[in-house]
Symmetry: none
Subunit: 134 residues, 2 copies
DNA sequence: CTGAATCCGAGTCGATACTG
DNA sequence: CAGTATCGACTCGGATTCAG
């Protein structure tokens, strides 16, 4: 999603449904905002790995099969910019860069694990539903 | 020229409205697979609304400000195909179609609310981090 | 009322090659 | 080692128009 406002008349958390909400000014939904970040192709995987221990760039590159340097950089930069990951550069030769979760990033692990558990428990149901005719 | 496909290749492979939205290769990771579905622009919102009560097509269209009929149909079809939403057609004149969560869909509400709560609690931190000079 | 068909821009992601 | 640069393929989602 682009950063467009979703113009919502209802949000995920409580709030009775106001019948005609006149305001066109509705703030961007925090939930979708967060979900969008976590849900691109590599983010979840990287957060999970970094939840175990800090990793260096090439360690991640090896650990995540199939990711290109470009996407690894991009994803890490986004996580860093969102305050979920810290990037520490050691001015050695050759250079070494270490990535680790911030406390904010760590705090995300638990909510994600709840959803992850649901996904694991129900994934076969979903796959089965998809293969159903109709 | 912009990246428009030309001729044969396009007509063979470009389906404007593929009915189950292509899953890509995400089925290998249940968690990412589920997250990808929930995180497109409208899904979360629709699940939330349908978590309250069943809705008819135009009710949803009115409740979700800014959604086009095309995206509403597409999103609902995907949810239906994943087994999260049921679609019931009443052969009245004019026709009426009702959408409601399946039990599977209902079971997703709780995990989502956990993540939603985290998002609400920490969204300002994230926004602040984004605005921090690098 | 409930959609389907078509067109198109913008964003996402991968492959490859190159650099300090 | 830790990235950048460039290109192209594919997908998402909006707008508009039409139909049962």
């Amino acid at each position: 999603m682009t950063t467009r406002n979703t113009g919502v008349r209802a949000s995920l958390h409580h709030h009775p449904l106001p019948n005609p909400v006149p305001t066109g000014e509705y703030e961007h939904c925090p939930v979708t905002d967060v979900l969008r970040r976590v849900t691109d192709k590599w983010t979840l995987l990287l957060i999970t790995l970094l939840g175990r221990r800090p990793y260096r760039f090439n360690e991640l590159h090896r650990a995540v099969e199939g990711i290109s340097p470009r996407m690894l950089t991009r994803t890490l930069r986004t996580l860093e910019s969102d305050g979920l990951v810290d990037r520490e550069v050691f001015p050695t030769v050759p250079p070494s860069v270490e990535y680790r979760l911030t406390p904010l990033g760590v705090s995300l692990l638990e909510p994600l694990s709840v959803l992850a558990e649901w996904a694991v428990d129900h994934h076969t149901e979903i796959v089965a539903a998809r293969q159903r005719p109709s």
